[in-house]
């Protein structure tokens, strides 16, 4: 197990190194740089002024020098300065992380707490009206883009209650805090909940057909015990995998949700930074996300062993 852990950690480092190279060079391949955009915003192009600014920002140096400057800084915790705001990149990134983390955490919670029970109910009541209704709900969750659902929620809340659940950094009441995070989390988590529901349902259906379930029923175990103790415990592994993958994919959904609900989190900030070609922000932020995703995958793999005692990692 220890050797396996060491090997996995080594692979994680190799993966992260590969990601850093890809991020760095992909960003440079994208046409236009921060200087082009700054001059576009100023509405004129002066080659001498451009050259001065490129020199000032260090983007005229050879790429390999720029890469080394960045990655060595990242490893030391020195994230450099944002080209746009001219503030330390870390100072720009850090306050936004908890906002997105809360939103993502709530969305995943929403996904698991809605998706798993409804998936189980749908499987247990297979072929009933309830099953069909839940399948329609899950299908709609997979079909509705989160930005559209978000706009729908906003429009409905303004039209019906003349209220706007827009981000409030200092909520005065519990209700305001709830509106700040819960509504956008539901908008972005609806898709994950729908996916979780479908995976839970199909996984449960497979397990419910197993011999040991029949045996448990024959031995007089209650429906609840059979469904939740015997079946769900064995059906949960694919669900955990999906939730783990969804955690990584969530960032895509959060970008649009943060834009629609005007939440100043890292996801929207990342898109803005890409738009400005603000390399120090984009590179460091994507690397941080990569570290989180790679670590999340690692943790999910470890969780397999916790949930299924038959799984043992060896060399």
């Amino acid at each position: 197990m220890f050797a396996y852990l060491v090997r996995r950690l080594f692979l994680m480092l190799v993966t992260l190194f590969g990601i850093s190279v890809v991020i760095f060079f992909l960003l440079r391949i994208v046409p236009g740089n921060i200087v082009d955009i700054l001059f576009a915003a100023a509405g004129y192009v002066d080659p001498a002024d451009k050259a001065n600014l490129e020199k000032e920002l260090g983007i005229d140096r050879p790429l390999i020098v720029q890469y080394w400057h960045w990655i060595s800084g990242f490893l030391r915790g020195d994230f450099g300065y944002s080209y746009v705001s001219e503030k330390p990149a870390l100072q720009e990134i850090l306050p936004r992380i908890p906002i997105t983390a809360r939103l993502a955490g709530l969305a995943l919670l929403f996904s698991a707490s809605i998706g798993i029970p409804l998936g189980v109910i749908s499987a247990v009541r297979q072929g009933t009206r309830l099953d069909y209704a839940l399948r329609v709900v899950s299908l709609s969750g997979l079909s509705l883009p989160s930005f559209w659902l978000g706009l729908l929620i906003l429009t409905a809340s303004v039209a019906m209650f003349n209220q706007m659940p827009i981000f409030n950094p200092n909520p005065a009441t519990w209700l305001e805090a709830f509106a700040t995070y819960a509504v956008p989390a539901a908008a972005v988590g609806f898709r994950s909940a729908a996916l979780t529901m479908r995976i839970t349902r199909s996984s449960m259906l497979e397990v419910l057909r197993q011999d040991y379930i029949r045996t448990a029923r024959a031995k007089g175990a209650s429906d609840a015990a059979v469904n939740y103790k015997h079946a769900l415990k064995n059906a949960i592994l694919p669900v955990i995998t999906v939730i783990g993958i969804e955690a990584a994919f969530l960032i895509g959904g959060l970008i649009v949700t943060e834009t629609v609900f005007n939440i100043p989190g890292v996801a929207r900030f990342l898109v803005e930074a890409i738009r400005w070609r603000d390399y120090p922000i984009v590179q460091n932020l994507v690397m941080l996300i990569a570290v989180v995703v790679v670590s999340a995958n690692f943790i999910v793999d470890m969780l397999y062993a916790v949930f299924d005692p038959r799984i043992r990692y060896t060399d």
Binding site: G32, A40, G43, Y44, N52, I166, F269
Partner: protein, 532 residues
């Protein structure tokens, strides 16, 4: 007797009415004006920017030497009033503009304002100071200024190479604040220090901009507001919904499009909305240095094919204006008369006749029903650019030109234009000041950095200088009309239309004036107050 009582009652009633009106109309102190902002500006330095995303939130931090009256919608030479200057005079055969400065004014950090600040601001703008701006888009405004001289702490003079009456108009623009000498250009980008009615508090990129009342403002009793808070919401649907739901006191100025205006008025019937022209012209930039548009016949044919009214009716439900380079009347001061405008090829009311003439020119150039000319119409990936580009492509079809839309990301737009890597471009040009010197020199002068097409006509260049020195307004107008007509006939940068846009605020917000011939000059906000 009855009539006496009736008279007394009427008098009492009228006194009551007057006093009530006075009470309701008396400006009140206090309150934070909440406004959404359409975009996160790159920085806070007005001198380094060219978008009113920057002027709107940061203009209240500063003062100019002079400014257009903030409670009149039309910017005119005769409504320029003093700010940091107490008075001014043209001397030395109109080659020197001398200012007497206001005394006792302090920067927001407590340091005194003096003539040295004026000199170093304009020295930086002219590129003559040791400290440099990272970007200096309006350097050409001061081409005729030889130097700035000071006499003591409160007198400053602009010494010109030749008379330029428009200099005063340029100095009155929201783009011309006075910066402090003791703060570096870098610090002004992140934490601007001004002398204006509001002090900078914070700017969180993509999040918010906050200003607070300057209690030591030199204009006593101003500003009325305790502060202004801008919440940055790039998603227009979300922003408008938030305004409708009362989360904001004001929508971002000129950001409510004509189609959206209906939604706002239906969902928030009490909202006050005005529609004004904003001196932004949608135009075509032509790469006349390469085939096929190096052929003047093809350029003229293209200009003849335009149905400008169709653009306006499709995009703005008819609320837009047809004109030349200068903004159309009545908002614009320099627009040529209608008859003169209609005498320019392509501006005549008979579109079919224009297009028949265009077809003949195309046939002369070797194109016809069996041989269409394929062109790429490049434009930025923003709806206000993309939508007219699509209509343009449709109209070009009528004269044997098959257009293909080439959508360019903003980051690549100016580099692409500078490389001349385009055939036709659909462009928007906002004029900071409704003055020919700003428009002609900036957009059409040989070598100007904003003359994207590198149009260069030495004859017209001479006329630019003639009109610029003319002090008789009537004479100058005639010269300007002739130049504008020639620019259109040369197809230098064909103007398609001048847009109008909506600005909305809640009914309790008072003292807002939306400028009708500029999008850049009306955001001091020191006279705005809230009746609640």
């Amino acid at each position: 007797m009855r009539s006496v009582w009736a008279f007394a009652a009427m008098a009492a009633l009228s006194v009551l009415t007057v006093s009530t009106t006075t009470l309701a109309g008396e400006p009140k102190q206090g309150g934070i004006l909440r406004m959404y902002h359409r975009d996160s500006p790159g920085n806070a330095s007005i001198h380094e920017g060219a978008t009113y995303s920057l002027n709107v939130p940061f203009m209240p931090v500063f003062n100019n030497l002079v400014i257009y009256k903030q409670d009149e919608a039309q910017n005119r030479m005769d409504n320029i009033v003093p700010e940091l200057a107490e008075s001014w005079a043209w001397v030395n055969d109109n080659k020197t503009l001398a200012f007497k400065l206001r005394q006792g004014v302090k920067w927001h950090d407590g340091k005194p304002f003096t003539a040295a600040d004026v000199k170093c601001t304009f020295d930086m703008l002219m590129g003559k100071a040791p400290q440099k701006f990272r970007q200096n888009p309006r350097k050409s405004w001061y081409d005729q200024v030889n130097d700035i001289s000071t006499n003591g702490d409160f007198e400053v003079s602009f010494n010109l190479k030749r008379p330029q009456p428009s200099l005063l108009a340029l100095l009155a623009s929201g783009y011309t604040p006075v910066y402090p000498c003791h703060v570096s250009p870098g610090d002004m980008r992140t934490h601007p220090i001004g002398t204006g009615p509001f002090k900078f508090v914070e700017f969180k990129a993509n999040e918010s901009i906050k200003l607070t009342r300057n209690p030591d403002y030199w204009r006593k009793g101003r500003p009325y507001l305790d502060g202004i808070e801008f919440t940055i919401i790039p998603n227009r649907s979300t922003a408008i919904l938030a305004f409708v739901a009362g989360k904001f006191d004001m929508a971002f100025p000129t950001e409510v499009s004509i189609p959206l205006l209906k939604d706002v008025k239906s969902q928030a019937p009490n909202a006050v909305c005005v529609v004004e022209p904003n001196n932004v012209a949608t135009n075509i930039i032509v790469n006349s240095s390469a085939p096929p548009f190096d052929n003047i016949d093809i350029r003229r044919a293209m200009a003849l094919s335009l149905d400008r009214k169709a653009f306006i009716s499709i995009m703005f439900e008819g609320q837009g204006d047809v004109g030349g380079t200068m903004e159309p009347a009545p908002a614009g001061l320099w627009a040529m008369p209608k008859e003169m405008l209609e005498s320019i090829p392509g501006y005549g009311p008979d579109i079919n006749a224009n297009r028949e003439e265009a077809k003949k020119l195309m046939q002369k150039a070797g194109y016809g029903p069996d041989k269409h000319l394929a062109v790429k119409v490049s434009t930025r990936n923003i709806p206000v650019y993309r939508d007219p580009a699509v209509i343009l492509i449709d109209q070009l079809k009528s004269i044997y030109i098959d257009g293909e839309l080439d959508v360019v990301e903003t980051a690549n737009w100016f580099p692409k234009i500078a490389r001349k890597d385009y055939m036709l471009g659909l462009n928007l040009t906002g004029n900071a000041v409704d003055d020919p010197d700003q428009s002609f020199y900036e957009n059409y002068s040989c070598g100007s950095e904003r003359n994207y097409t590198n149009y260069c006509n030495k004859e017209i260049e001479k006329l630019f200088d003639v009109q610029s020195q003319e002090t008789d307004i009537a004479k100058r107008k005639k010269l300007v009309w002739d130049i504008d007509k020639k620019l259109q006939e040369d197809v230098a940068r064909p103007i398609i239309f001048h847009a109008r846009t909506g600005s909305c605020w809640q009914p309790y917000v008072k003292g807002v004036t939306v400028m009708s011939n500029s999008s850049y000059n009306g955001y001091r906000y020191e006279d705005v107050w809230m009746d609640k």
